[in-house]
Subunit: 144 residues, 2 copies
DNA sequence: GGTAACACCTCAAGTTGCTAGAGCTTCAAG
DNA sequence: CTTGAAGCTCTAGCAACTTGAGGTGTTACC
């Protein structure tokens, strides 16, 4: 039973990661060595596909490539405690919480702003006014 | 009474925009012509400072530079209706709402993940497992 | 008046996570 | 044998800055 292999296009379909993105992930070292055919085409096996799905899923959850690199190293080394993986997930959760609350602040700012704008002329537009009002400043409402 | 002027460093302090960022904003045409001293140093007057504060505040609220460009044009032209400004603010509000709800989804995913992880070894770590589980996929949880 | 420290200048390149394009090769089908 | 799709490499571009190199101007102190 020869193990099935996949072209980059098939790998893209299976994993949900686009073709150029797969090549990019290889470039930045997320995938390790990928086998090549005689005609210099990449081909992938099942384990490559799971790695791709792993990466895609983690990216969907907003993990940065660097965090994913670490998670992949952990995955490759199943005897370690999952403390490190836990810490990464926790950091991500904290980040998400922070973003949510700053976006909520933002939302109320924007709502207030729009609510007060009575569709008149710019000279009395609250949107513009509030933006121009330098007394009106908080820290970073939007994350970097 | 000669109108007071400010060096770029002072302008940075007053407006809360960093020095290189001020130069950058000038480069991309957000500030118009900035006066120069004999020794080729930029100097700023009060109106430059308000423009900078305006930009900073808008950026804090997450408006893109292009939107800010439009808002600044509107501000310079006080006889227009504020419809356009309103539309920009509304688009931003919609964007913020979208982000909030996708982040909330994300948060519950992450919480579930961490909750199930019983601090054991990687081989049985739910964080890693869930990420690896390709059946576990939704659309874009995170905005582009 | 000299000199040291510091703010300022310009220009180029790096950041993040890809995406898009040009220009070429390889492969499978008809 | 030809055509068209899919592959290849390499480069450049996006947003909104930040960082760095290498040079000039200004100010404070002795």
């Amino acid at each position: 039973m020869g193990a099935r292999t996949y072209s980059i296009g098939e790998a893209a379909k299976e994993s949900g990661v686009k073709v150029p993105t797969i090549r990019y992930y290889e470039d930045i070292g997320l995938l390790g060595r990928i086998a090549r055919s005689d005609g210099n085409r990449r081909f992938y096996d099942r384990s490559d596909l799971s790695r791709l799905s792993f990466i895609r899923h983690a990216r969907e959850l907003g993990f940065e490539v660097d965090a994913i690199r670490t998670l992949l190293r952990l995955q490759d080394d199943p005897d370690q405690t999952c403390e490190a993986a836990d810490a990464i997930a926790k950091a991500r959760l904290d980040d998400v919480e922070r973003r949510i609350s700053s976006l909520k602040l933002l939302r109320s700012e924007l709502k207030k702003m729009m609510h007060e704008c009575a569709a008149g002329r710019i000279s009395e537009c609250r949107v513009i006014e509030i933006l121009a009002d330098s007394s009106h400043h908080h820290g970073r409402l939007v994350e970097p």
